[in-house]
Amino acid sequence: MPVELTIEQKNGHIAGRFFAMASDCEILVDSTDKRIAGQIIESLYTECLRIEKKYSRYRTDNIVYQINHAQSARVDIDTETYQLLNLAKTCYELSEGYFDITSGILGKVWSFDGSDCLADKKDVEELLSLVGFSKLNFDQTSITIPAGMALDFGGIAKEYAVDRCANKALALAPEISVLVNYGGDIAVSRPRLHSAYWQVGVAHPDPQKDTDVLVQIAQGGLATSGDANRFLLKDGVRYSHVLDPKTGQPIIDAPASVTVAGDNCTQAGLLSTMALLQGKNAERFLVEQTVKHWCIRLSHL
């Protein structure tokens, strides 16, 4: 999978592929017109890179870096950032504090490498004082966060990019179905013309299996949250890479993978993350929310 964009003619559609947001990305255009498909793919590729650049926490030239290094000073934000913060706030409230974009800092003391290496309790407790969305102060034009705290849009930005790109595709070509798949987070701009659905392969949640799982999607969004490659295993207990922001400890007994179909990719992604945070109650949560979902649990024991 190349970093640079490649476009190729497939059987009945045109596919664009690139690597971004730490994922293999693909854009499928339900057209055989190379010129139009090329325009769509390049616009979406540009949009994807824009969002990655703006919200990656591994860069030093973006708004996230500015906010995280402001040392309690006020930082001006634009409308897009305000809207993402607002969505994060909604999720924080709906999940009663479990979905928290300030919890990424806890990752400092945890390395989820499949080993039995749990974090030191004291380290975790120190970091907990730097976690809590309610400690942020933001409005439409600016944000102030306590020194030491950090925002991580990782749980939202990729799904957001998928939806932005699907919407952009719809605006560019209202009559052409476009599937946007960034690392298994998927949205379709509109139904296909000549077949009922798109069929795409997404990585199998079990890293032992190198076959893709085929997914059929007609419209809407699909997102997967999982820890297939990122977990700790100690005394027969599987520790998820998803951390409980209230205790700083990994969620126990979460499914290896949760896939949710939703109105759009962002909604599906948030629901799948919230389901993981439910641990052993993940399936029950999704049933209660009456969303279409697939949970996979693996036995490594």
């Binding site: 179909a261 109105d263 949560f285």
Partner: protein, 445 residues
């Protein structure tokens, strides 16, 4: 994470993400089931000196999600008044038996004979289910049942629609089957047989009981025997098939073309309709019951175009119907909808209808000619033009409910389809016009 409150997080996230994405919901996703939606209507239809009808409708619709929609409807009609029997006016008083055979009534000179025993109420129940099957294919099924004093009807229907050409074209096919049973008051009269008459009596318009005092036993028993020997009920079956094509022409225009075939088989007479048998001078010699063929095949072609203006909708349609009774009809109809203010609309309505007579339509029969195989003087089978002029105003309320009121004027002008009139009938109005007003009020919540 163990949530303490059970809230619909999925729905709230759907809303929140749509705000974020700055768009209306572009992804049609599985919708959750909605609330019951009720539509109610009350309609008054009144003809001058003829029939008046009050109809109430309550319709309930529920979307069970993903366009799986149920609709149930109950309709009540209350009908009173009189309609033309088909007999011609005379320059002398005429006497008729009531359909039941129990008594009779008199019609004044130079007056169109009306059957004023018209009093009925009808209840109809409908149920329909519609759902999509797969991408671009949807279908529905329905049943109805209706009952009035002398009539019972039940039917089944089904339809399928196929979208293609980027959903710009829809092909629809539908079919329905209906069974009707009529139990005419006084039994089923034999077509073209004479209306039984008592030999003499003081027939009274108002009080049927007074006839029971009638004395001539010989004629009286012969008279009642005619009714007793009649079949009590008759039925018919109707099969309808429809094929339609709907095409989106551009962003503002949609066009529809339908072909419909209807085949009816069974008792197609109106048991209460009569014909006068007149001599060469036009004086009535006999009154007979009508007789129609027992099959009828109708073809119709319907074309409709709707155009969306900036502040309203233009809707124009045309229908051509032809059947094997040789009736041909043309209907031109137009509705213009103008938006008024934020939430209201005004809709003028115009309809013009023109019909040629059935081949067996006869305004009267001549006594010196042989009885035809079929004959009916029912004005609904004769040559006529009709038009409707109406206006409707509707408004959506702040709470989402909607109401509308409709007022229409209808006039039907039957015409002579080329029958020479004997002298005594020339001074009579054999083709009286019917004028009616319709007032309807709708409320949806």
């Amino acid at each position: 994470m163990q949530l303490t409150k059970k809230t619909n997080i999925a729905a709230q996230l759907a809303t929140a993400t749509c705000v974020l994405l700055g768009s209306a919901q572009t992804h049609a996703a599985p919708t959750t089931s909605g609330e019951w939606q009720f539509d109610t209507a009350i309609l008054y239809y009144g003809e001058t000196d003829r029939v008046s009808l009050v109809e109430g409708v309550v319709s309930a619709t529920k979307d069970f999600g993903d366009d799986h929609i149920f609709n149930g409807k109950i309709t009540y009609d209350g009908l009173t008044g009189a309609s033309a029997t088909g007999a011609v006016a005379q320059d002398a008083v005429q006497t008729f038996s009531r359909p039941s055979g129990k008594g009779g009534y008199q019609v004044a000179a130079n007056t169109t004979p009306l059957d004023d025993t018209f009093r009925d109420s009808r209840v109809q129940l409908n149920a329909n289910w519609a759902q999509p099957f797969s991408s671009g294919i949807a279908g529905g099924v329905g049943v109805h049942i209706s009952k009035e004093y002398d009539y019972f009807s039940a039917g089944l229907n089904g339809n399928l629609s196929f979208d293609f050409n980027q959903k710009n074209t829809t092909l629809s096919v539908g079919s329905s089957f209906q069974y009707d049973q009529i139990d005419p008051v006084g039994g089923k009269p034999i077509g073209l047989s004479s209306m039984p008459m008592r030999p003499y009596s003081d027939y009274d318009d108002d009080d049927e009981q007074s006839e029971s005092e009638n004395s001539d036993e010989f004629y009286d028993s012969a008279f009642t025997t005619q009714y007793q020997s009649r079949e009590k009920s008759a039925d018919k079956n109707t099969l309808d098939v429809l094929v339609g094509l709907t095409q989106v022409l551009n962003r503002r225009t949609i066009m529809q073309v339908n072909y419909g075939l209807s085949v009816a088989d069974g008792y197609l007479n109106d048991p209460y309709k009569l014909l006068s048998v007149v001599d060469t001078t036009g004086v009535t010699q006999d009154i007979v019951f009508e007789e129609r063929p027992d099959t009828r095949t109708k073809h119709n072609i319907f074309w409709q175009t709707k155009y969306a203006m900036n502040n309203g909708v233009v809707d124009v349609s045309y229908r051509y119907m032809q059947d094997d009774w040789d009736i041909k009809s043309h209907t031109v109809e137009s509705r213009l909808r103008f938006n008024v203010g934020e939430s209201g609309y005004l809709q003028p309505h115009f309809r013009y209808y023109r019909q040629g007579a059935a081949e067996f339509y006869r305004p009267f029969l001549l006594a010196n000619e042989a009885l035809p195989e079929y004959a009916s003087a029912d004005y609904r089978l004769g040559e006529m033009t009709a038009y409707t002029l109406g206006i409707k105003y509707g408004q959506k309320r702040a709470n989402g409910d909607a109401w509308a009121v409709r007022l229409e004027y209808y006039q039907q002008n039957p015409q002579n389809a080329g029958f020479a009139e004997p002298e005594a009938l020339q001074q009579q109005d054999l083709y009286p016009s019917i004028k009616a007003m319709v007032l309807q009020f709708n409320y949806s919540f």
